[in-house]
């Protein structure tokens, strides 16, 4: 660590950048807070925040709750896609088709480079067909969100698969007579817990923050609701934006913590396992 300091700029630089850029990036967030604390009669008060719980405002906050509910439904669908379609595929490729690893990675990271706003042009006819067959429920949009979240979720899951010797684990379990469902559910999944957790949380963050598809395919979610409410009553819009930012921050802070604890955990586990296998 001491030697790393030979590259890293000194303490003074760190403080200057921390304070100056920290302040610059804090200003918009601080402005939002200040905005919600403005009292209509002048001065500052908590009135706007207290009013959020008022039943009188229900017509204004209504879209938010509806959007939030829709986002939750879509999140469940998208997380299910990650856990029941993407994860088994990654495991299957790792165990049986190692040659397909690169192509899978390419496909999984592809959505990063295809703009959602361009893809939505082609999704519109697809959703026309889906609506005709399965109805216009919001849940179906969760399927499309899986593609947007795929790069993030894939990286989290693949990293945890790489950190675990799934091949040895699966072979050991098979030799001991475990069935494939058992290998997946009771041997591999518990070992990949942290990666699956991180992937699910990242997926949640992506779905809650998505606006493009919902707006252009005319479905209500949290973000479209924020726009609607913000146009009617800026105070409510900004207040809920703040809350959603804070919620996303907590979620990702948690991932960050899980991640750093996770890497330590995996090393420990893999050494233990090596001993056991030997």
């Amino acid at each position: 660590m001491k030697s790393a300091a030979t590259i890293a700029p000194g303490r003074g630089y760190r403080w200057v950048v921390g304070i100056v850029l920290g302040a610059v990036f804090a200003v918009p967030i601080f402005s939002m807070i200040e905005f919600t604390l403005r009292d209509p009669t002048g001065g500052y008060s908590l009135n706007h925040w207290l009013a959020l719980g008022d039943s009188g405002l229900a017509s204004q906050t209504g879209p938010i709750w509806e959007g939030l509910g829709n986002s939750v439904v879509m999140t469940i669908v998208t997380v299910a896609v990650m856990l029941f379609i993407v994860t088994p595929t990654i495991l299957l490729v790792t165990l049986r088709f190692p040659k397909l690893r690169r192509p899978l990675e390419f496909i999984a990271l592809l959505p990063v480079s295809v703009p959602a706003i361009a893809l939505v042009v082609g999704l519109a006819p697809v959703y026309l067909a889906i609506s005709r067959t399965f109805g216009t429920g919001v849940w179906s949009l969760g399927l499309a969100y899986g593609v947007i979240a795929l790069p993030y979720a894939y990286r989290a899951i693949q990293a945890s698969v790489d950190a675990t010797d799934v091949k040895t684990l699966a072979e050991a379990a098979r030799t001991l007579g475990a069935s494939w469902p058992n290998i997946f559910l009771r041997v591999l999944v518990p070992n990949l817990r942290q990666g699956l957790m991180a992937a699910s949380l990242l997926t949640t963050a992506v779905v809650f923050g998505e606006y493009t598809y919902a707006a252009l395919l005319v479905r209500q979610n949290l973000q479209t609701a924020l726009v609607v409410v913000g146009q009617q009553d800026p105070f409510t819009g900004v207040a809920f934006s703040l809350l959603s930012l804070f919620g996303a921050f907590l979620l990702l802070y948690f991932i960050s913590r899980v991640g750093s604890a996770g890497s330590a955990g995996t090393t420990r586990r893999s050494t233990k396992r090596k001993v056991r296998v030997a």
Binding site: S31, P88, V114, G122, W180, Y211, L226, I255
Partner: protein, 303 residues
């Protein structure tokens, strides 16, 4: 899947037999759900988006829609989008590098690093609509900064209207989500700089400045440009912030797609959204191709 065969195989208390016995295609069937999923929600939409640019309203093939690219207005839209994305990417990249350098001296598990990790992910990925509100609250007509500058220095920054809604105004929120993206993508490259190189440089009588000039910057340059391209692609494709800020103003391609999609039937200009989308995908494909090439060079130093 092949539950039965495998259970029997396992229960046989023998070594696992050669794969694929009995049902040779069975494991491959396991790849089917993902293949179908990705085809329906990524493959088909991408193909349809491009194809719709080459169709008349009735669905017949045509190249006429490409004619919009001779429209100076459309070209200007692409031009201004590229300008906006480039400016935001360059400013974001520089600020991002400054932040990365500041984070370099801190251990990866420190509180500041964990906090920045979470904050950068939120601002880079979650932003969108929320950022629009944040900047309205900052430099909008009654924004905090607007009022502060007016009250203390007597400068009215919105004298000629709120510029946040213009193309130049969009630079501000775009930089705000590009900078964290730079921190996320550039930090691993910077952290991979080996302290030994600095030591070797010092031991051989090099200076700190010499280290950056001859070692640090040449090694990091590919990563820097790769990240810069990623920032460009991100800003070029961004839609939510602009949509929440601009109702009809700033002419950028994503808003053009929105207008074409929502008013296609009215205007009778079918396929315009498709042409715009194709143009966007082309720009991004070129950028991402360059990114992949540069990234290959960058990865040499990250082992």
């Amino acid at each position: 899947m092949t539950t039965d065969t495998i259970t029997r195989r396992g229960a046989g208390l023998t070594k696992a037999r050669p794969r694929g016995r009995g049902l040779p295609f069975a494991p491959a069937l396991g790849l089917l759900p993902f293949a179908i999923y990705i085809t329906v929600f990524l493959g088909i939409p991408a193909v349809l988006a491009v194809l719709s640019g080459f169709q008349t309203k009735r669905g017949a093939f045509t190249l006429n829609n490409l004619g919009v690219f001779t429209d100076p207005k459309v070209l200007a839209t692409f031009g201004s989008t590229i300008w906006l994305a480039a400016v935001a990417a360059i400013i974001g990249a520089i600020l991002g590098v400054l932040i990365c350098l500041a984070l370099l001296g801190l251990p990866a598990t420190s509180r500041v690093r964990t906090f920045t990790n979470a904050a950068t992910s939120v601002l880079a990925q979650f932003g969108g609509v929320t950022l629009a509100f944040a900047f309205i609250a900052t430099v909008g007509r009654t924004g905090l900064l607007t009022q502060f500058l007016d009250n203390t220095l007597g400068i009215n920054i919105v004298e000629n209207g709120v510029w946040l809604y213009s193309l130049g105004g969009l630079v501000l929120p775009y930089v705000y989500f590009s900078t964290p993206l730079m921190v996320i993508t550039f930090m691993p490259a910077l952290a991979a700089l080996k302290p030994q190189w600095a030591e070797a440089n010092l031991a051989l009588g090099g200076t700190r400045l010499g280290f950056w000039r001859h070692i640090g910057i040449p090694v990091l340059a590919p990563s820097f440009f790769a990240s810069l391209l990623l920032l460009f692609a991100g800003a070029f494709s961004a839609y939510a912030t602009a949509a929440a800020l601009v109702s009809q103003g700033a002419p950028i391609v994503p808003i053009g797609i929105e207008n074409a999609l929502t008013s296609e039937s009215v205007l009778g200009r079918a396929g315009i959204a498709g042409v715009y989308a194709t143009g966007m995908i082309l720009v991004v494909v070129v950028v991402m191709f360059a990114y992949a090439r540069i990234q290959q060079r960058a990865e040499r130093w990250q082992r």
